[in-house]
């Protein structure tokens, strides 16, 4: 086991070195990509400010609190986007073009290989915006961070990230049967837009979906609300942890079944 983990880290380092070489070659491209995602967040913020220029609070949340929740939502999303972006390629075209076969011929678990192979620098646009917003909003709200809250924050970020990755693995796995599932993954992934704002503004249907069906609300609103108010720790953090673990296990199982059912697209 120890040897196995050591091997993965060594491979990780080798892949990272290759990746940095690529990064240096296409520098301008990576910078514009990160800038694009940063600007996307910026416009969303302008939208929030316009909304709050009309009302002092929204369903019991102040502007600073909303910014905190919004910023928090970008952190797990950004981390997942950074290291697990290749799953999109599996869903969209790697299998359809027959390029997926290469992962099966290598002496390394195909899922690890897909995840190790590339990083998405664009994600830094999201991640950094998220961190800046959380810090700025926490400052303005004069939030005190006890060791317990810091621990809770870390747990929420880790398992929130796993929720994203788990969902992506599940819906990328579908492509192992259907050759492509990009549109389906896109559709599911986009429901995460709902999670950036307090779930209290939604109707029952949307609330139920993003809490229990595609539990993106646990990547942002629930843990962030706990950090802000200290209420319902078990539901918020427990839910995030449980959802993260369940989705990853489901993803892994489905992926394994998909790999055994996989037939190459051929040429």
């Amino acid at each position: 086991m120890k040897q196995k983990i050591g091997r993965i880290f060594r491979l990780y380092w080798i892949f990272t070195q290759q990746f940095i070489k690529r990064l240096l070659e296409y520098r301008a491209d990576f910078i514009t990509g990160a800038l694009a995602f940063f600007l996307g967040q910026f416009f969303n913020l302008v939208f929030i400010f316009v909304i709050f220029s009309n009302v002092p609070q929204l369903e019991g949340w102040t502007l600073d609190q909303i910014i905190f929740i919004y910023g928090f939502s970008l952190i797990p999303r950004g981390i997942d986007h950074f290291y697990a972006d290749n799953l999109w390629k599996v869903a969209y075209f790697l299998i359809r073009r027959g390029e997926f076969d290469k992962y099966l011929t290598r002496p390394i678990d195909p899922l690890y290989h897909v995840l190790l192979e590339g990083f998405e620098v664009d994600a830094l646009g999201e991640l950094l915006t998220g961190i800046v917003l959380v810090v700025a909003a926490a400052n303005r709200l004069v939030l005190t961070f006890s060791p317990l809250k810091i621990l809770g924050f870390i747990v929420a970020v880790i398992f929130g990230t796993l929720i994203y990755t788990g969902i992506k693995i599940i819906f990328a796995s579908v492509a192992l049967w259907t050759k492509q599932s990009g549109s389906l993954l896109h559709l599911v992934y986009m429901t995460s837009d709902f999670a950036k704002y307090p779930v209290t503004i939604y109707n029952l249907l949307v609330k139920t979906i993003i809490t229990y069906v595609i539990p993106f609300a646990f990547t942002a609103y629930y843990p962030a609300a706990w950090l802000l108010t200290g209420e319902k720790p078990l539901f918020s953090l427990g839910g995030t942890t449980a959802a993260g673990i369940i989705l990853m296990v489901l993803g892994r199982l489905l992926w394994n079944r998909g790999i055994s059912a996989y037939e190459s697209a051929g040429s």
Partner: protein
């Protein structure tokens, strides 16, 4: 110009849109989720606004606005810069030089075919849904055929503005080689400045004045304001006049760039 030469492009566009319908349907549903997020945010805001009026918009106005803006954005969206950029990077643009049809127009007619499918599969159901929603909220039918026809004409002009703007943008591939990053950047900027998220009337007056000299309002805002009946009479005339002006201007610019390309193009052989 011989339109007949371009009809095969349109039927090819229709066929490819039908073949890849899940691609654009997936994209469409992804986009409309965010519109629902905005809907719920505005709903909460209007609930706490005494009088229920923000910037001259009632909640119903705002709902119609954001959904109409979303679907109009979908109708006027174009892949022109992607097609142009790809041909430049791959070098296949050289083949376009020997064909007796215009490069820009052949892309345009292919996309028109795709738009026909999008209109029938997505736009008409959405507008029917919006009218139905308006009826349940206000108690009377607001649909007026002349307004809708004006909307369709204006949306068509918006598409042409977008298209020729995007063609010019695509030629940037001569400079940047890979357009993926700046394309996302462009999408974000256009979406915001053309009124995709917030009505332009909500912007500060100074920014609005600057926007008057830019093509963004002609790309989406004008048809949406016509559909929601915020524009009347002369206002419609002047806004659509501005759209036509931008179509001509950007068309001229794209022609100019193509002429320059023809003279200076060097493609590395394979």
């Amino acid at each position: 110009m011989r339109f007949k030469a371009y009809t095969p492009f349109t039927s090819a566009g229709i066929q490819s849109a039908i073949a890849y319908k899940w691609n654009f349907l997936g994209f469409f549903f992804g986009q409309i989720f965010f519109t629902f997020v905005m809907f719920f945010l505005w709903r909460a805001v209007f609930r706490y606004t005494p009088g229920g009026l923000i910037g001259g918009f009632t909640f119903l106005d705002m709902t119609l606005y954001i959904f109409a803006a979303n679907i109009t954005g979908f109708l006027t969206d174009t892949d022109a810069s992607y097609v142009v950029g790809e041909e430049i990077v791959q070098g296949t643009i050289a083949m376009r030089l020997i064909k007796p049809v215009s490069f820009n127009l052949s892309i345009l007619f292919t996309e028109l075919g795709q738009k026909l499918i999008i209109i029938s599969m997505v736009a008409l159901p959405v507008f029917a849904g919006l009218e139905w929603y308006g009826f349940t909220q206000s108690g009377f039918v607001q649909f007026s055929l002349p307004t809708f026809l004006l909307y369709m004409i204006s949306a068509g002009l918006s598409y042409l503005v977008m298209f020729f703007f995007d063609v010019c943008f695509g030629y940037l591939a001569f400079v940047f080689k890979n357009l993926w990053g700046i394309n996302i950047l462009k999408f974000g900027i256009l979406n915001f400045l053309s009124g995709g998220m917030i009505p332009l009337a909500f912007f500060p007056p100074m920014i609005q004045r600057v926007m008057g000299f830019l093509p963004f309002a002609s790309m989406r805002y004008t048809p949406v304001m016509i559909y929601t009946e915020k524009y009347h009479g002369l206002m419609i005339l002047s806004a659509m006049g501005t759209q036509i002006l931008w179509v001509l201007l950007l068309y001229g610019l794209s022609r100019l760039i193509w002429k320059l390309t023809e003279q200076h193009l060097t493609v590395q052989g394979g």
